[in-house]
Symmetry: C2
Subunit: 581 residues, 2 copies
């Protein structure tokens, strides 16, 4: 090896040793004839020193080092006079005896420090330099640790990691596929998997019993901060289990990860029915780091000649505890925020519970003190609280109130990145009606089983049928979801029928799975967790970009390698395709 130690491990116990270190020059400074150089590697930072006792050529060489030069240094470990308690190597420094420049470096286009001056595009172009910065590198080291612990946990639970193919078959269900022309099969295409769903179900038919895979998946969708065309999934499937078993095993996995990687005890995950989540939080992924649950007011506010409430399908509010100090101006501004097209509320009603105990609403004209006392009771307000109310169609107003609740949570400092509030949302609807196509879509996917007691409703009220489906939610982010699958060919065919597939279409697309179900499919179910998102939650980031080594931008481009790119005509000819632009 070119080194005897890394830049992160020397301490007082190494005093007097002659060591060799390699790394990058973080910075160097001259102080009264002494040159101090900080040399950095993945493991840490060590101070080198060249002073009047050092060889003159060596001192000259030390002075000429630029930032990010790669050096190899030999020297003796000395105790520092000015110790730096902030870093593990802060008690020592290296008196340089030999210095070799392994590679020079041009001046980097931005600062390689925890806080950098580089803009997003510049850092994307020089991603390899951005990755030198501690915050990014630490994210990826953490990602590695999480992956290791996932595998350790699942292996101990008898799961087998099986690689499923990347070159598969395009299906019309779900998101848009990326496709790959086949040279050997002219005119035909592979597709990249949106998930290994059918393969993992086939592995259950094969008797693998417990499968997992940390696997790249692909969706050709329009991109945003938490979406990438390629993303990584923790994909799992189990046989001979019930929903409760799956929740326990994967709640156990999440607890194991938080415990081993972050030293945090998560405790038991609450379970919330989908219907309750929508009613109390207006979302199927409620952020339960804070309360502020919805209170429905229809029973107590209607019939007082206030048209907005009387005409609304739902009147619903939240108690923003401690926000009574909000000025009229602040509330007006909040109202404007709610009226933006992204949210689309028509107005905001409020009631203050003043410090003197009095109640004051923006609709005092319609509601007297006695009525407001009812409101106060419903919201359990105390002096200092601010009640915020919206009215309108149920679905719409719940969505709006969800936005308002999250916004108030943020404003009131209730959504700390250091706090983790997980839960399971269960009993999702099986189907959701798509206005555009005028038919039902599978809410989870077409292999999800309906609750047995609800199957009879499939023909009459398909929208009310509940599924054996569940989502893991942490801090208002859907970390993953899964379901108990259909393992019966008849039920699967029925499901395809309700999704508008003709038997021929179903056979053409999923024939191999339907066939497999005839050869002894076990009861099975599973889950898929978004690995990038999980890592971003661990890292306290809003975007998944900085837990991915080489992400793509919002146009799906990797600006560092300049991809995608045009390919040669000969290459296209071999693949029997041509472009139409």
């Amino acid at each position: 090896m070119l080194r005897t130690h890394t830049c992160g491990e020397l301490n007082i116990s190494n005093l007097g040793q002659t060591v060799k270190l390699c790394g990058w020059v973080q910075k160097s400074r001259d102080l009264g004839g002494t040159t101090f150089i900080d040399v950095r590697d993945r493991y840490g930072l060590t101070q080198l020193v060249l002073n009047v006792d050092s060889d003159a050529n060596l001192r000259e060489a030390g002075k000429s080092l630029g930032r990010e030069f790669v050096i190899k240094v030999t020297g003796k470990v000395l105790e520092r006079t000015n110790k730096n308690p902030k870093i593990p190597t802060g008690d020592i420094e290296i008196a340089v005896e030999a210095l070799e420049v392994l590679n020079e470096a041009k001046i980097p286009p931005f600062l390689i420090e925890d806080e950098t001056d580089g803009g997003e595009e510049l850092r994307a172009k020089y991603r390899y330099l951005d990755l030198r910065r501690n915050p990014l590198r630490n994210n990826l080291i953490m990602r590695h640790k999480i992956a290791q612990e996932i595998r350790r946990y699942l292996d101990a639970q008898n799961f087998i990691e099986v690689e499923t193919p990347v070159l598969i078959k395009s299906t019309p269900e779900g998101a848009r596929d990326f496709v790959v022309p086949s040279r050997m099969n002219p005119g035909e295409f592979y597709a990249l998997p949106q998930s290994p769903q059918t393969f993992k179900q086939l592995l259950m038919v094969s008797g693998f019993d417990r499968y997992f895979q940390i696997v790249k998946c692909f969706r050709d969708e329009d991109l945003r901060a938490d979406r990438q065309p390629e993303f990584t999934q923790i994909d799992c499937e189990l046989s001979f289990i019930e929903q409760e078993d799956i929740l326990n095993i994967f709640e156990g996995m999440a607890r194991h990860l938080f415990n081993t990687v972050k030293g945090i005890e998560l405790g038991d995950f609450p379970r919330m029915q989908y219907a309750d989540a929508m009613r109390l939080y207006g979302s199927d992924k409620p952020d339960v780091r804070f309360g502020m649950a919805f209170v429905e007011l229809n029973d107590i506010v209607k019939g007082k000649n206030f048209g907005v409430f009387d005409n609304a399908e739902l009147v619903v509010g939240i108690n923003a505890k401690g926000a009574a100090g909000y000025t009229r101006k602040q509330i007006d501004e909040l109202t404007e925020w709610l009226k933006r097209p992204q949210i689309g509320a028509t107005g905001l009603i409020y009631m203050r519970h003043n410090d003197d105990g009095s109640l004051k609403s923006s609709v005092d004209k319609f509601y007297n003190e006695e009525e407001l006392q009812k409101w106060s009771a419903a919201f359990e307000t105390q002096p200092g609280d601010l009640v915020l109310i919206l009215a309108g169609g149920t679905d719409k107003v719940r969505k709006q109130m969800n936005e308002l609740r999250l916004e108030m949570g943020t404003r009131l400092g209730l959504r700390s990145k250091d706090k983790f509030a997980p839960l399971w949302v269960v009993d999702f609807p099986l189907l959701e009606f798509d206005e555009e196509s005028g038919r039902y879509h599978a809410m989870h996917h077409p292999f999800t089983s309906p609750k047995p007691e609800d199957i009879a409703l499939l023909d009459t009220e398909p929208g009310t049928v509940r599924a054996n489906a569940y989502d893991m939610v942490i801090n208002g982010i859907e970390v993953g979801g899964g379901s108990i699958r259909i393992h019966d060919r008849e039920v699967q065919s029925l499901m395809f029928k309700h999704l508008g597939f003709s038997p021929e279409e179903a056979q053409k697309q999923f024939g191999f799975l339907l066939d497999a179900f005839e050869f002894g499919a076990p009861p099975h179910g599973g889950i898929a967790l978004g690995f990038d998102r999980l890592c971003s939650i661990f890292a306290g980031l809003d975007s998944i970009r900085d837990v991915i080594a080489f992400p793509k931008n919002n146009s799906g481009r990797d600006v560092m390698i300049d991809s995608p790119s045009v390919i040669a005509d000969a290459q296209m000819a071999e693949l029997n395709i041509k472009t139409t632009v």
Copy 2:
């Protein structure tokens, strides 16, 4: 859970317990009023029993079970009268108290047993049934174990697993790329990676120090038993190391895997120079499970008026120990085998060392007893040995002799699947001349560094320049290879020049890497091991197909899911492509 135990764990210590098992009916038989049913899951096989004491309906139900039915059974663990010492559960059986058919099964198209009657195509179509068979499932379980142990070993050595992108940029070097049209960037394409080579080098520039990844790679090449369009690589890269460090770390990894997964101690890996491997075995991946090294005979056979030898560039032979009993007919047949176009030898010369000590050659006309004694000495023959000799152009005859040596090794039973003989082949040539294009190609890849002492030869004798490159070989199979990389932009540019790239082409294709080298690239090197091949060696298989869950056939088709397939015109239109067939 639907079960209390798996089908592989009950034994005499469970006697009297009431248990629930789930699994597939392996077989059932009636013996004098008693029905025995073997139920199978991933973990094993358990015998169920229904006899005269059982409920009549239950007995009827037991009799009606077909092969591969999925059942759930409740019953009491009893001691067997006829114990089966071959299986872990062979001491017990379950007296059935309740039986539920979880799913029926059609009669499988082939036997779900260790030895099956299904042909290759049928088993490929019903791969999910083939995967139920123990040999296949055990391969995949072993593959999982190997992957786990790889990660354990590398993690302990400070390697970080970093996922590199799957959607990258097409490059003209190396094999054919699979490409993916980009919808968001009309007319442009991503490529699937043939390896993460440039990304792992960039991670070194980023200071990641030690990287690995078990990763899918893709090559659009014509297929054969040990090639798949998608395959899995153990990809690794390290900074601040020398070749010797890499050999030690990955030799250590291979030893760790054989030790933990197969309980085999491999010992130290011999190291062999490429030139010696070619001279002694005619191959850069010699099978050293057996000796039979080449002996070059030019010095002792020339000048005896035997034109075949006199006109040959190289006369070379092997001592097939103990094969002197080969009849004339067998040798004629071997000669015909050598003359097949795949090998292309023109003739075979032999010398028998008879049991009575006499020497008898097929060219006694030219070589007398005294001359043959020289041959005997060169080959160190003993009575019973058979010397086989070929003559011709050096490269060609070495290749032919390599084939003959391997064939004789096989015929003499020297190539047992249970024996493992690893070695490192080192000091590969940097470049190889390609007759077709009339220029040099990188033997490993264009980022491999030349030996510093050989750089001067690049201009004068490029074919003789040695590289800091190495291959790990086990049982004559190249498991993987790597090199110390170029980390200097000047040397990298020089290399591209010698590979026939103009500076513009080099910049266009690899500009981001060349740029990166200007910002402080550390000395680095790495290795990539073929994970599928490694698993097939562990499993004692010639083909990698049966260590892959869902492989493709020789036309790149997955016959189970019927992929690739045609896609909709609308889908192509969105991607701005059309097919030309």
